[in-house]
């Protein structure tokens, strides 16, 4: 199959861009901002995709690098009217089909396939049953891989939330599998579908009706990506949506907090998931003043580089530092986000810049209001 077969109707998008050339997507693309060449912006990648379709561009190492360095943040999509990231994902799928994939991406695939997580961690590390014993329920928490492996403070906050509020979510423990979004984003469709099938089977067998996620990647995978291939009948909520619902119904007793924080929009939650207001509402509910990154917030928020942190740490770090500076320019001393990967990326950026700033998840903020 050639790229045209993967893009199908999306080929028209390439020609629309070729006609338009408006460049709205160029300057702000986080990868272009670091690497300089337009190649790395959406317009550049649209040109190259057209080049592949028309047979003017070969599948070189450089081309592979260009497509995999995109963070899929979707800023370009918000300022355009085309299916930019869907195109880039399909180009990746095509590259995968030609075995044109960077080594690190293959290693991460192998890690998911063999250890059910992208970090080559032991499987038991990602099912922290000693903290969160498995429990059947119609509404479950889906933990994902990153929180139990690299951001355990969120897990502890979640546990505290459940204890203090008396609201207990179910948890599948060893029957929860890596959501596979990383595989989907890289273009390993077959392996992604295997993960999806395992999870859907688990959900069915456990009679799950509602799934709450903390990780926006899991949120998108379960909510949007699985349904591209399967009929699914469960509902998915990001933790911020879930908390918003509980607070609306007055189900949580908490102590009012005070002070200013700046909220960082995770690309997967905001732009891909369209969850924009709920996290802010929850934080305001808790008594906090939510500051906004100047100019770049909500649908026009800028990427923190988190999605490529495991693949291109240096590039990710440059992107993270740019975002950190924007967030800090508000004067806030605490950054709150709704994505553990963004939080890791921003923490790393703060370390690199040698600034002291708290980077917290909404769940962590909530838990401090419950003590």
């Amino acid at each position: 199959m050639n790229l045209r077969d993967y893009l199908k109707d999306l080929v028209d998008n390439l020609y629309t861009c070729a006609r338009t050339q408006c460049g709205f997507c160029v300057y702000e693309c986080p990868v272009r901002r670091v690497l300089g060449f337009e190649t790395y912006s959406s317009r550049g990648r649209m040109h190259l995709a057209r080049g592949i379709v028309e047979g003017n561009v070969g599948l070189t190492e450089k081309l592979v690098d260009i497509y995999f360095k995109c963070t899929l943040c979707g800023y370009c999509e918000a300022v355009c009217a085309l299916d930019n990231t869907r195109i880039f994902r399909n180009v990746r799928k095509f590259l995968v089909s030609k075995n044109a994939v960077p080594r690190i991406h293959r290693e991460i695939r192998d890690s998911i396939v063999s250890s059910d997580n992208p970090y080559s961690a032991e499987r038991r590390a990602k099912t922290p049953v000693q903290v969160l014993p498995p429990r059947k329920s119609k509404t479950i928490i889906f933990l994902g891989c990153t929180i139990p492996i690299s951001r355990r403070q969120i897990l502890l906050s979640l546990k505290k939330f459940m204890e203090k509020s008396g609201i207990t979510l179910g948890y599948l423990g060893p029957d929860e599998y890596c959501c596979g979004l990383v595989l989907y984003e890289i273009g390993f469709e077959k392996e992604f579908l295997e993960q999806a099938e395992k999870n859907i089977k688990s959900f069915k067998e456990s009679g799950v009706e509602r799934i709450v996620t903390i990780c926006p990647g899991c949120y998108i995978a379960l909510k949007e990506r699985y349904s591209e291939y399967f009929d699914v009948d469960y509902e998915v909520l990001h933790i911020s949506e879930y908390l918003y619902e509980l607070m609306n119904k007055n189900k949580i007793k908490y102590r009012k907090l005070s002070g200013e924080i700046v909220y960082h929009d995770p690309c997967h939650l905001t732009r891909h998931g369209k969850v924009v207001e709920e996290p802010r509402a929850v934080l305001e509910w808790l008594g906090l003043t939510v500051l906004e990154a100047p100019h770049y917030n909500k649908y026009y928020s800028r990427c923190c580089g988190g999605s490529i942190l495991s693949f291109y740490p240096d590039l990710a770090s440059e992107i993270g530092v740019m975002r950190l500076r924007e967030l800090l320019s508000t004067g806030a001393e605490t950054i709150v986000s709704g994505c553990e990967i963004c939080e890791i990326a921003l923490d790393k950026a703060a370390m690199r810049e040698n600034v002291f700033v708290d980077v917290l998840d909404i769940v962590e903020v909530l838990s401090t209001a419950l003590s």
Binding site: T16, E28, L48, H295
Partner: protein
């Protein structure tokens, strides 16, 4: 370019800028292969090398290498030129967008010094921190750079109040075609009678004299308030007369656009996206005039009221539907403006539904951008209908942009829909040529905001006659080897037969 030469030039450039900022890879060259002028599906113009300088010194070193080997240099900002102005003909393409720093904000004197690769929108984000504004509003501001609006003398939304780039340009730093760095103009002032005003030569020079690397621009305090009005008129002449009368009587708009009914549709994309229908326009309407006013609220309110009175005296009727006005404004000006740069009523476009790509899914916007004396608008409009029909191009509409402070000197975009086929593209350029000549015949100019580029190169002798010879001499002074953006302004058009 000869392979051996290319190799040598490449290694010299890498020595200067490092491997990360020089590329000969096809993957890095292809993204620069187009501009916004209509072309066929397979069109591409490739540079041999792309470089990303960060300072005047680096630009100078790059041009010195080009001068030594006599190879073309094409400066490029956002690449949205409508005349193929930043299409390379081999050689070195200089992407200016890493030169995007604001070097000085002189608040007391209302001037700023910037690197020329900064996009207009980015500059305004920075200026807003100081309560300042660079009121040069090209619709492509998200990527169009300061260097480009100098190199083209682009149109801006607010130019009936603030004027084109010459009204903002105090001085520039340029790298000439030999690589020499020269400061032109008058430091931080617009006012001087000393020497020749060589910085003005760089206005509309399209990179043919050298590369602008820094600019000192006058900026203004951001206005406290803005509002908009719109009017239907039975003809363009009615609309123009009303505006002339307003200016005479001291009603001074901040922006003025006069357009035909068809063009209105292009600017109500946001309205359609929201309501799914076209706004209502009275049967008898030929022209629609939109004005904005800015200043203290009471002043603005007074001007708005007065403008309504004057329009009524001239047979026009106000647009009562506020949504039409606001959505029009979204399409024309607000688009991508972040909240910090908007007044509360100014709405951005709906995310994921930007008008430009959305409107060009099957055909593209192609425009003849000319100027004619204001009394000739009606006649030029007739010619537009005639030529577009002659070449089988569907009318997209006309927009008259008032571009000179408090006067009715105009730039006009006569747009048509153009498909991708060779025949349609060829017909577009035939149409463009007739429009260009007619504009000159009517006492105007064939290019009002996009330079000559590759499109009007050669055709422009119709406008300039033997003056073109003198222009070439000026070019030789700045660019003795003829390497600066060759094929633009002079020589034969790549596009028009």
């Amino acid at each position: 370019m000869d392979k051996e030469v290319l190799k040598r030039v490449y290694s010299k450039l890498v020595e200067l800028l490092g491997e990360e900022r020089v590329s000969v890879a096809i993957e890095d060259r292809l993204p620069y292969s187009r501009n916004w002028n209509p072309c066929t599906r397979d069109f591409r113009a490739l540079p041999d090398i792309v470089v990303l300088p960060k300072s005047t010194e680096e630009v100078s070193q790059v041009v010195k290498v080009a001068y030594e080997y006599k190879i073309p240099v094409t400066p490029r900002g956002g690449g949205t030129s409508m005349s193929g102005g930043s299409l390379a003909r081999g050689g070195i393409l200089v992407d200016m967008k890493l030169m995007d720093r604001v070097l000085e904000v002189d608040k007391e004197n209302y001037v700023v010094r910037v690197q020329a690769g900064i996009p207009i929108l980015r500059l305004n984000e920075e200026l807003r921190k100081y309560g300042l504004w660079f009121p040069y509003d090209v619709e492509s501001k998200a990527v169009a750079t300061v260097g480009s609006v100098i190199a083209l003398r682009s149109d801006g939304t607010f130019n009936i109040r603030y004027g084109k780039i010459e009204n903002h340009l105090c001085s520039i730093t340029v790298v000439t075609g030999t690589g020499e760095v020269v400061e032109l103009g008058h430091r931080k002032t617009l006012i001087s009678t000393s020497g020749y005003h060589l910085h003005w030569l760089f206005i509309s020079s399209e990179g043919t004299l050298g590369i602008v690397t820094e600019a000192v621009l006058r900026v203004v305090p951001a206005p406290p308030h803005r509002d908009i009005v719109g009017f239907f008129f039975p003809s363009f002449s009615h609309g123009v007369k009303a505006l002339v009368d307003m200016l005479k009587r001291g009603v001074l708009p901040e922006s003025a656009n006069l357009q035909c009914k068809n063009r209105l549709k292009f600017y109500t994309h946001a309205y359609r996206a929201k309501y799914g229908v076209e706004p209502k326009v009275p049967e008898w309407t030929e022209a629609v005039l939109f004005l904005s006013f800015a200043g203290d609220k009471d002043v603005v309110d007074f001007m708005m009221k007065k403008s309504r009175e004057i329009v009524r005296e001239h047979g026009g009727e106000p647009i009562e539907d506020r949504e039409v006005l606001e959505m029009w404004w979204t399409s024309k000006h607000v688009a991508i403006e972040p909240k910090e740069l908007r007044f509360p009523w100014e709405k951005p476009f709906i995310p994921f539904k930007q008008k430009w790509p959305d409107s060009q899914r099957t055909r593209r916007f192609g425009a003849a951008g000319v100027s004619v004396p204001v009394g000739k608008i009606q006649e030029m409009y007739r010619k537009y209908l005639e030529y577009s029909s002659k070449y089988g191009l569907e009318v997209l509409g006309m927009n008259v942009y008032f571009q000179h402070p408090n006067s009715t000197h105009v730039s006009i975009s006569f747009a048509v829909w153009v498909g991708d086929s060779e025949e349609e593209v060829r017909n577009f350029y035939r149409y463009l040529k007739e429009m260009a000549k007619t504009a000159v015949d009517l006492g105007g100019s064939m290019s009002a905001y996009y330079g000559d580029g590759e499109v009007l190169a050669g055709i422009n002798v119709y406008e300039h006659g033997n003056a073109l010879k003198y222009m070439l001499k000026i070019k030789e002074v700045f660019d003795p080897a003829g390497i600066m953006n060759p094929g633009k302004k002079f020589g034969e058009s790549r596009w028009v037969e």
